[in-house]
């Protein structure tokens, strides 16, 4: 910690010197040409870097400075290391650490400029992946999961298999594993669908299984079970359309014609038919078109009526 503080101060001093150097001596008001602008900007960034890293300043002021530093964080090694130090320092205020993370993340969007800093950035992220601060941990694990970081994926999977080891709730772990789906996640996802710790975890497990053709029967079963929440059945419709696109029309038609069906499902079925249905087949389907016409003026929800209106606009203009 002591070494870290010393480095912070050294960086702040260096930044301050840079600021002073940027002022040309002996000229009261230099012309604001591109070179002068750049020099002024360098001075300004140095001052911002100094403010961001100065433990003597208020947290708000430092957070503002981190935001204003923008993509320049990795222009100066000292500043970059100082911001990484803030991120890693569990004793720093949570808001400041999150601001440091956001500033680093924003800098990653300048990918080429950031490339030389990237290995250290990823190492720092891994170092705080098990941080006591849940919000920070969750954001960091998300970043690493989107980097397809193998060790992070393994930790998420381990947490699903053994909740005592879990770094994040199961629904978050499943969601993050969805950024780079591997078949070894499917068994645990199927188990969670069968025995979910909460509805959100079941939903995320279903989303993860969407690319698994072998799980099609799971979705078929949920779709046909009217006791399942509408959300899962709606997701099943969507997934089945992806796994077997030709099934769309049949599933959606069935839901629209079924007067005992949930209104949300019927509206989703109407939306699917309107959006992705085969024009010729649907226009020729008199029974379907007539039923939708009745839905338009029936006792169903506003969503069903809206879906019916759009369907008829397309298939019976």
């Amino acid at each position: 910690m002591g070494a870290m503080r010393t480095r912070k101060k050294a960086t702040a001093r260096k930044a301050s010197k840079t600021k002073r150097r940027s002022r040309p001596k002996g000229k009261a008001k230099p012309k604001r040409k591109a070179g002068a602008h750049a020099a002024a900007a360098r001075g300004s960034y140095a001052a911002l870097a100094a403010a961001a890293l100065d433990p003597g300043l208020g947290v708000r002021q430092r957070i503002r400075a981190l935001a204003d530093l923008s993509g320049e964080i990795c222009d100066d090694t000292g500043t970059f290391h100082g911001v990484l130090d803030i991120l890693r320092d569990a004793k720093s205020p949570s808001g400041l650490r999150l601001a440091a993370l956001q500033a680093l993340q924003a800098a990653t969007f300048s990918a080429v400029k950031f490339s030389r800093s990237r290995p250290e950035y990823l190492t720092a992220l891994r170092a705080v992946a098990a941080d006591p601060d849940l919000e920070l941990r969750q954001r960091v694990l998300g970043l690493l999961a989107r980097e397809r970081d193998g060790s992070t994926q393994q930790k998420l999977l381990d947490g699903l298999k053994n909740p005592a080891k879990a770094l994040v709730p199961p629904e978050k772990a499943l969601q993050l594993l969805g950024y780079d789906v591997h078949a070894d996640a499917y068994p645990v996802a199927r188990r969670i669908v069968r025995d979910p710790p909460n509805p959100a975890a079941k939903r995320e497990a279903l989303r993860l299984l969407a690319a698994d053709a072998a799980s099609a029967p799971v979705f078929e079963e949920i779709l046909r079970n009217k006791a399942e929440p509408a959300e899962f059945r709606q997701l099943s419709v969507s997934v089945l359309h992806s796994l077997a696109p030709r099934s769309l029309q049949a599933h959606a038609r069935e839901m629209v014609l079924d007067d005992t069906e949930d209104d949300d499902l019927r509206a989703a079925g109407l939306t699917a038919l309107t959006q992705f249905g085969e024009q010729g087949a649907i226009t020729a389907d008199a029974a379907l078109v007539q039923r939708v016409d009745r839905l338009k003026g029936g006792k169903g929800s506003a969503m069903v009526k809206k879906g019916a209106r759009r369907f008829l606009d397309k298939y019976r203009p």
Partner: protein, 405 residues
Amino acid sequence: MQIELRINDSADPKARYVSWAPSPCSVRLSDPTGASQPVQVTLRQKPAATGGQVRFRDGPSASAKTSLSLTLPLAGAPVPFFLTGVFGRASVMDGDVTVEVRAGTQVLGSVPLMVRVRKDAAKLTAPERDRFVAALAKFNDRGAGGFAAFRAMHTDLTSPEAHGAPGFLPWHRAYLLDLERELQAIDSSVALPYWRFDRPAPALFTPAFLGRSDSNGTVHFASTNPLQFWVTDGVPGINRRPFFVTGTASANVITEAQTLALGNQYAQFLRMEGNPHGFAHTSFGGSISSIDTAAKDPLFFLLHANVDRLWAKWQRRFGRFDPALAASFANGPSRIGHNLPDTMWPWNGITGGQRPATAPGGDLAASSCVTAPGAKPKVRDMLDFQGAVAPHSQLGFDYDDVRFA
């Protein structure tokens, strides 16, 4: 007696879209039956209480008029004129403007058209919003549609083509334009809306539009919203967890005024790649907050439409449309793909070497309204988007709050 009215120098109904920049048009006698000498006609907009409004010009820089008198030769030669949308009076639906051609009191012909511009997503009418999400969902087609190529264009591997160098803004302008034209091939009335990330946008983050996020970051849609069928990389749905209150707060970004004040040189303005651009992305958890996954979320395109709009505003404020002007772009050589004469990947189809290994998506989509920037655009082609320097450079889009002149 009959006339032919050509909008954007085309008889194709799909070319009947104008914006703030002047569109080249013409009118000619297609059937002179009954006429023995050149016919005097008047062009005007059929009165309408709502919707778009247009004005007529003799030439691209002539003053705008509510009506225009022209003499049509008997032999059928076309007589050119220009149409512009009235700033602040964009259309709300396809064909809500009708241009009439009269000889005296006789209507010789008319065409419906649209003043089509990119609008603030938070202010779209419900039908405008619905047409946009329907076109986007159709293009995604449950993960099997043309959107997959767009998702593949913006990843970690392709990032050097688009980020961290002067081509950042031109590349993304081409990317948005390509997508917008694909959406217009599905529904010609659609223009890409923008998300003003420096203001609250309560109408955007709703189940009927781009969805509402739960605490886990899973986005939920209304059952009538076709984006519920959104699929990327084989996984349905969208992950997006805002770190701000979408209904009442803006993203954690600098304001528009601060962005436009970054400097009057392109190199200074380019700082916006960090803030507001990078900070708009990272004001969320989820796909949009990492380069590799950002384009999985439809919000990406609205966020970048605003980035592009800010560039357009900056260009307008400082007169930075001309690639020949040093302040309009970065000076000095940059890596390939980021210099004015360079072609841009993936539209150039070049793979390997300094370019990515594959080039998804093929040529940049063509427009029925304009010819620029062509199938394989160069960086320089993206600057003069309104045709302010050279009318043929016009890219066929405008923003609702960026004037032509």
